[in-house]
């Protein structure tokens, strides 16, 4: 809690992506999966990256994790460009940033017991010495992710666990090397609603107790809201960040027409409320191809506030619209942010 009280200027970002782009060469020509994205995560803070499929969320996350090298821009960890690090420091960086994947059925080795899965990195990286100490540490990690008593889980294979339990094991494995940042890529989207909340609550506790920062990637704004309420949210559309700000602002007072459309479209678990929702303000339902992006603002063919001449010329920059909140929209930049209706 006290970390949140530290003014932003004082907190030094743990991870910064400055002007990063990722271009893939395909038969259809170069594809800009991520285009000049700026993001930063402070220690112990949550940054949610929200967008539809193909918006570049995972590509951005992979660059942040050092899994792919950006085509342009810099990925900095603790103030240093990770691609300028020597081998030893790069390996330290890799240990500090851990990735939790979407599908725990695929990300855990089916031929290893949970104990083997958890002790392998502990022994390999010399975090603990000896099999006994490793087993104890593995048990401790399982307790941290609420798999108790650990003895019940250590000898099991992934197929003997439920989806929620498997995802907890994946989180425990990410914790083996005491990371400073966890990149969670749609980590709860395969879980049943009933289980999702408890996994999110567990992750939230890790953030508070261990001070781990999160880059939390999801297509579900309601989940971003729940997990990232005290953090920030960036909304991506076709490779660009179109809106950024504190999560409560993004959810309750979005300014970019795309964010607004998303919020308007999400069904609610409330029959009366949800029937007032619609995709009415959108002009088109089809998402343009990344290989053939519309000119100017990539959202203009679908946008309800499209103005010819203004929106289809230049690509809009992400500019401040309210305290701490910025949007990449020509109309919002000109007219200012409308105050929310609710």
């Amino acid at each position: 809690m006290s970390a949140a009280a530290v003014p932003e200027a004082v907190a030094r970002p743990l991870m910064t992506l400055s002007g990063v782009s990722q271009v893939f060469d395909t038969k259809a020509g170069p594809i800009r999966a991520v285009d000049h994205a700026n993001l930063s995560v402070n220690p112990g803070e949550v940054l949610c990256l929200v967008g539809e499929s193909g918006s570049g969320k995972t590509t951005a996350a992979r660059m942040a994790a050092g899994l792919t090298r950006p085509s342009g821009g810099e990925v900095k960890y603790d103030g240093t460009d990770i691609w300028s690090l020597n081998k030893k420091d790069f390996s330290t960086f890799r240990r500090s940033v851990q990735y939790v994947h979407q599908d725990p059925y695929a990300s855990l080795n089916p031929t290893r017991t949970i104990q083997q899965t958890l002790t392998a990195p502990l022994l390999k990286h010399g975090v603990v010495k000896g099999a006994k100490a490793a087993a104890d540490r593995a048990a401790e990690l399982l307790t941290k992710v609420d798999l108790t008593p650990p003895e019940n889980y250590l000898p099991k294979y992934p197929h003997q666990l439920s989806g929620g339990q498997r995802q907890r094991v994946a989180v425990a494995r990410a914790l083996t090397l005491d990371p400073k940042l966890i990149i969670a890529d749609e980590s709860t989207s395969m879980l049943d609603v009933s289980i999702r909340i408890s996994v999110l609550a567990m992750l939230g506790r890790l953030r508070d107790e261990l001070g781990v920062g999160f880059l939390f990637i999801t297509h579900d704004l309601a989940i971003a809201k729940y997990f990232g309420w005290r953090g920030k949210t960036a909304v991506m559309y076709l490779g660009r960040i179109v809106e950024f700000g504190p999560t409560p602002k993004i959810i309750n007072a979005p300014t970019h027409p795309y964010t607004r459309a998303l919020i308007e479209a999400i069904p609610e678990p409330d029959p009366d409320l949800t029937r007032t929702k619609s995709a009415g303000s959108l002009r088109s339902l089809e998402i343009p191809s990344l290989a053939n992006l519309p000119s100017g603002c990539a959202f203009h063919p679908r946008c309800g506030r499209f103005e010819p001449g203004l929106c289809d010329g230049e690509v809009p920059e992400l500019v401040g619209v309210r305290a701490g909140q910025s949007a990449a929209c020509h109309v919002v930049a000109r007219d200012g942010a409308e105050e929310p209706e609710r």
Binding site: E52, R196, I197, A201, W229, N252, A265, A279, L285
Partner: protein
């Protein structure tokens, strides 16, 4: 919006008319490798009225999809459905669905009841254009001419907001996920079925695409007035699309009622738990709760109420017998039924969230 005769039928609901589909003691069993039998659906009683939209909700592994497949007799060979499923054709004839075979069964499928499957890509033949799918389906069931098929297909594609000129000549892989799902909905309506069963029709779709499919469903149902059984683990979607909701747990329906009854006044701890686990998008940070544990294995159900190991209302009495689904008498209106001996203690406090 034009009011059709089917639109008028929509008003008949909640027991006033004759049910379109009447399901009694419906069971589905799977034979497993070891020669054992597992009951995936354990005695479901349900009526579907003309024009009604019924949502079946629950976690994965509760028997929702098996129920849907069983109704259309689409179970794999190791599955066996029993009980009584009566379909009332508009002309007054009653059809015993589980007794159908051969030609009669083919006639029942698509014409009387059609299904929209989860995962639109797998439901298509990848080497056949959409036109081919439309023609195959129509030719297998009617004597329509090429011209008639073209017209009917184009009409339905326009109804789901697609351009027939573009879509008919496309292969499934050339369409986006949302377009494929809408094509499937259009196809399922080719023979004007009375009942449409949709299995997770918008899972795996993006938010805006999901919204467009939901809006299309609203619109098409308004126009054509068919009845719908809608299988989903997504409660928000059920809240949006259903007139009536049935919660399924471990192969049984444990609560059923009007959509408002169920969402505002759930009386089964499981329904309450599901609702409290869904994060809403409107408002401040809600107080959410998860349901501990997971659904039981159908091969080894707990004694008594199968939900009791996860239930915070459970007492010793809950382990004695499986509670029957009975109407709630202490609230106005009808049709709200619950299978819980502690239903009187179950209340949803929305103001707290």
């Amino acid at each position: 919006m034009t009011t059709t005769s089917a639109g008028a039928a929509r008003a008949v609901r909640g027991g006033a008319g004759k049910p379109l589909l009447s399901i009694r003691d419906f069971k589905v069993e799977y034979r497993t490798g070891a020669g054992a039998v597992v009951q995936a659906v354990r005695g479901v009683d349900l009526d579907l009225y003309p024009g009604e939209s019924l949502a079946l909700v629950g976690e994965s592994g509760c028997g929702k999809t098996t129920f849907g497949l069983g109704l259309l007799r689409l179970l794999p060979r190791l599955g066996h459905a029993s009980g009584k499923v009566i379909f009332n054709r508009g002309d007054g004839t009653e059809i015993d669905v589980l007794g159908l075979d051969g030609r009669d069964l083919r006639k029942f499928r698509w014409r009387d009841a059609a299904m929209v499957f989860q995962g639109a890509m797998n439901a298509f033949n990848p080497v056949l254009k959409i036109r081919g799918h439309m023609h195959d389906t129509m030719r297998a069931h009617t004597k329509a001419t090429k011209q008639e098929i073209e017209e009917r297909a184009a009409e339905l594609l326009r109804l789901v907001r697609l351009e027939p000129e573009r879509v008919m000549d496309s292969y499934p892989h050339e369409l986006s996920g949302g377009m494929r799902q809408r094509v499937l909905i259009a196809m399922s309506l080719l023979l004007e079925p009375e009942v449409l069963i949709l299995d997770e029709p918008t899972t795996a779709l993006d938010i805006l695409t999901q919204r467009s499919v939901v809006d299309v469903l609203h619109e098409v149902r308004e126009r054509l007035g068919f009845s719908m059984i809608f299988i989903s683990h997504d409660l928000s979607l059920a809240a949006e699309l259903a007139d009536r909701v049935a919660t399924m747990y471990a192969g049984r329906i444990i609560e059923t009622g009007g959509v408002r009854d169920l969402f505002y006044r759930p009386r089964h701890p499981y329904t309450l738990g599901l609702i409290k686990a869904v994060p809403p998008i409107v408002g401040d940070l809600p107080d959410l709760e998860s349901i501990p544990g997971g659904p039981p294995s159908l091969a080894a159900l707990p004694a008594g109420c199968s939900f009791h190991p996860r239930c915070k209302f459970a007492t010793e009495e809950c382990q004695e017998a499986e509670p029957p689904l009975i109407p709630i008498t202490d609230e106005p209106g009808d049709g709200h039924e619950v299978a819980c001996i502690h239903s009187g203690d179950v209340h949803l406090d929305r103001s707290a969230s």
